[in-house]
């Protein structure tokens, strides 16, 4: 009898592991950059190409860096959420315009709205490589010291904003005050 129960027993053990496995998220691979200072960059600004923007702009307060491009559908999808984030005043939202043509980017912003405090232009995607950008859109949250504390991959939804992004920003702000 034991012999015949063995397959069932093995399967039930597997099932327990599956049940535990379901509670975990394997894609939550911590980005190697989380907890590290944001990689250095110096890029022209989208609106004033003659002026540069660099890491200094991201220091002094909690900030959000949103990587986007006019050719990216996911960015259009999350744009309302980015606007809501900027309008909430929780933190300034900086844009990193990734592998895009300047005219396209400006037209896109005039069409869909510009929530960004400032936008850095990463024409060739070199800074994107330093920042470990897999695909647009991606969103980074930096603390007041310019250290990357959180990274969101893919378009942000209303739920992401409410349950992840805003709480992280609030937490970093209280951390900075204490």
């Amino acid at each position: 009898m034991i012999r015949y129960l063995l397959p069932l027993g093995i399967f039930l053990v597997l099932a327990v592991f599956f049940a535990v496995g379901l509670q975990r998220d394997p894609s939550e691979i911590p980005s190697p950059l989380v907890g590290k200072p944001a990689p250095e960059f110096q890029l022209p600004r989208l609106h004033q190409p003659e002026r540069a923007i660099d890491n200094a702009a991201l220091e002094g307060e909690v900030s959000v860096v949103n990587v986007w491009a006019s050719w990216c559908v996911g960015c259009r999808e999350e744009h309302e959420v980015v606007k809501a984030l900027a309008n909430s005043g929780a933190a300034p939202v900086y844009g990193l315009n990734y592998k895009d043509a300047r005219e396209d980017a400006l037209r896109w912003l005039s069409h869909f709205g510009d929530p960004y405090t400032a936008i850095a232009v990463d024409r060739d995607g070199d800074v994107g490589i330093d920042w470990g950008v897999y695909g647009v859109p991606e969103t980074f949250i930096l603390d007041a010291d310019g250290v990357i504390r959180y990274k969101h991959i893919g378009p942000m939804s209303e739920t992401d904003l409410r349950e992840k992004i805003l709480p992280v920003i609030r937490e970093l702000k209280t951390e900075a005050r204490s």
């Binding site: 015949y4 399967f11 597997l14 099932a15 379901l22 975990r24 998220d25 691979i29 491009a69 990216c72």
Partner: protein
């Protein structure tokens, strides 16, 4: 409106599945003949409604109805027509619909080709398939409805994942699902037989052709997937030990064991409870694959979008189906009489060895696939096993399997004599050992030893095939007599030989490509050339080309052999407009003894590119071998006896009356 009709059709199909799953089963247990008679019409009805639902979804895709969320997520108005159709099964929801449609198709096939089986058995088989269908249809309706509408229809769809925009991927999922779902027939037969306590050689004979057909589809589906990965991923590899690939390999391994074990049960009446267990395991592993791919417990390059409620649902379903059937197995199989005894050296024991080895490989693959999950579940962090583990396991188990494959078909049933067996095999053995030594001495390295092993086994399998044929024709006198005997051999015998030769061809491909290949990563500008594998690759230019829904940098590379051009390759780097994803399309010159493979890397400025060039000797043999295996399966199911069987079974019924 048509999408809503599709949704409604799925609901009706679910209701019919409930009828199909419950009424005939109860009828078969209680002996209500008119209840068991419901099985066939219910199955047909379910199929019709699912076909309607599928057509409705196809309509939504082909007419760009982006108000349907699933269409908006997986299609785009610029997508070529063939891919719009293939996009139906391009993601989770639609592929599930294809899954149930195929399940309903198999059920209708069982209903149609089972006129010679006892009604009660057919009723139970169709019931079990109906019960499986209930699980999947309610999964679709409650968590994964492909017909959901969006409140605001977007102007444009997000496009089909560019990875899937490849001819190979158009037919890969349907073939694979035909295989996965086809195993449900053997599973349903096994459960029906367990329930009725009728586990005899008749049951095995009924299950065999269905298993073989499912196995054939699975073989083709897996090899097509491997061929796609080779073309599309730009790494030149043909197998990546990705969890999703493993999920398809495990049912294949067990189904391979099941085919052999069914043969023993049919011919000798032994291995009964073992065969039932394999039938349950093969389909359970198909379901497990579904769970792994769709629940998000493992990460993979091609996992579906995940959602915890879906994972929970599939897990519950898995526990009911697999747990339930294994419990039924534990309850009923101790009563199964064991068949005739067999000697230590007999075809039975060799086939048992084959089964155990196949199961050991399956266990190794399962362990390797789930290891990260175990590790994480026990709070030890994240980790993955990867190539070394899987390759080591194959190196451990595959060679003995190959050796048995050569001996098995030549050994007698029940008992064979070691000395006479050695006399039959010594020549083949000598040739194989010589081949092994020749390759081993030539390469003189550890990797060379692996190649020698692969080549030696290939030669061994080919040589034993000749031995098997010779021993059959020995009785014939003269060429004409021998030819008459060859023509009299059954198609299933030839099917077996062809499939085994397929393994030999496959082994040659794997061994050759693992060591004789050459690979170069080079920087090439227009006019530059490079030597790889004795060929000259002349990099001519990179041009901008616009595709229907992508823009591409297309290179032109001319391959020269001794100064004469033999091929022009056009590897591409495509950027898909809607998603912005970049895809590599490699340029491949296909050949019988070698492939020349060029993949375009990144632009390096000043017009030059990083380019990856491979010379892949005998790589076609990997897929050629798989096609031979599938062909072997086709030969086996086209055997005369399956056509004659219906008359025999009729006669049997007439003799014994209707079995209760």
């Amino acid at each position: 409106m048509i999408a809503e009709l599709g949704h409604f059709a799925v609901i009706l199909a679910l209701l019919l599945a409930v009828v199909q799953g419950v009424v005939p089963l109860v009828g078969s247990l209680r002996g209500y003949v008119n209840w068991t008679a419901v099985a066939r019409p219910a199955a047909t009805g379910q199929f019709v409604f699912l076909a309607i639902a599928f057509a409705a979804l196809a309509h939504a895709f082909l007419t760009d109805q982006f108000s349907v969320a699933y269409v908006a997520q997986n299609s785009n108005s610029a997508l070529p027509l063939a891919y719009k159709f293939a996009a139906i099964w391009g993601a989770h929801e639609g592929s599930l619909l294809l899954w149930v449609l195929i399940l309903a198709g198999w059920t209708v096939a069982v209903a149609a080709f089972s006129r010679n089986l006892p009604e009660i058995m057919v009723a139970r088989v169709i019931s079990v398939m109906g019960l499986i269908s209930i699980g999947f249809l309610s999964f679709i309706l409650f968590t994964s409805n492909p017909f959901d509408r969006l409140m605001r229809a977007p102007a444009e769809g997000r496009d089909l994942n560019p990875l899937l925009q490849d001819p190979g991927l158009v037919i890969h999922p349907p073939l694979l699902y035909m295989g996965y779902v086809g195993l449900s027939v053997a599973f349903a037969f096994a459960l029906a037989a367990l329930a009725g306590g009728r586990l005899d050689s008749t049951w095995a004979r009924w299950s065999r052709p269905w298993t073989t057909v499912a196995w054939m589809f699975l073989t083709l589906g897996i090899s097509l997937g491997s061929w796609w990965a080779y073309n599309e991923l730009g790494w030149g590899g043909w197998w990546f030990w990705d969890p999703v690939e493993n999920a398809s390999l495990m049912p294949w391994l067990v189904a391979t064991g099941l085919m052999h074990s069914l043969a023993v049960t049919e011919k000798r009446g032994t291995f009964r409870s073992w065969t039932v267990l394999l039938a349950i395991l093969a389909f359970s592993l198909s379901l497990l694959g579904t769970f792994l791919v769709r629940s998000g417990v493992l990460t993979s390059v091609h996992a579906f979008a995940t959602d915890p409620t879906r994972g929970l649902y599939i897990l519950a379903f898995l526990i009911v189906v697999v747990g339930g059937s294994l419990a039924l197995y534990a309850w009923r199989s101790p009563t199964i009489a064991s068949g005739t005894r067999f000697g230590f050296l007999s075809r039975e024991s060799l086939l048992l060895g084959n089964n155990l080895l196949l199961l050991a490989i399956t266990a190794a693959v399962l362990l390797g696939t789930l290891y990260p999950l175990f590790y994480d579940a026990m709070g030890m962090g994240k980790l993955s096993v990867g190539f070394p583990w899987f390759n080591a396991m194959f190196l451990l188990f595959a060679p003995p399997l190959g050796v048995l494959m050569g001996i098995g078909p030549i050994t007698r049933w029940q008992h064979d004599d070691a000395q006479s067996l050695w006399r039959r095999l010594r020549l083949a053995c000598g040739i194989a050992v010589l081949a092994f030594l020749a390759f081993a001495l030539y390469h003189h390295s550890v990797d060379g030893l692996k190649v020698a092993l692969g080549m030696g086994l290939a030669v061994w399998i080919a040589a034993t095939t000749v031995v098997s044929l010779r021993s059959r024709v020995r009785a014939g006198t003269g060429l004409a007599g021998k030819w008459r005997i060859l023509r009299r051999q059954s198609r299933s015998y030839y099917g077996m030989l062809v499939a085994h030769l397929g393994i030999a061809v496959f082994a040659v491909g794997v061994a050759a490509v693992s060591i004789w290949g050459e690979e170069r990563d080079v920087r090439l500008g227009p006019g530059d050339e490079v030597q790889v594998g004795g060929y000259t690759f002349l990099f001519r230019e990179v041009a901008k080309v616009d595709g229907p829904n992508y823009r591409s940098d297309m290179a032109t590379v001319t391959v020269l052999n001794d100064g004469t051009p033999i091929a022009t390759l056009n590897p591409e780097k495509r950027r898909y407009n809607a998603s912005g994803q970049v895809m590599t399309e490699s340029g491949v010159d296909v050949g019988f003894t070698r492939d020349l493979y060029v993949a375009l890397g990144e632009p390096l400025g000043d017009g030059s590119w990083s380019v990856r060039i491979y010379d892949k000797p005998f790589v076609r043999w990997i897929w050629g071998g798989s096609i031979l295996m599938a062909l072997g399966g086709l030969l086996a199911v086209s055997d005369r006896r399956y056509r004659v069987a219906r008359y025999k079974a009729k006669a049997e019924q007439a003799l014994h009356g209707k079995p209760a």
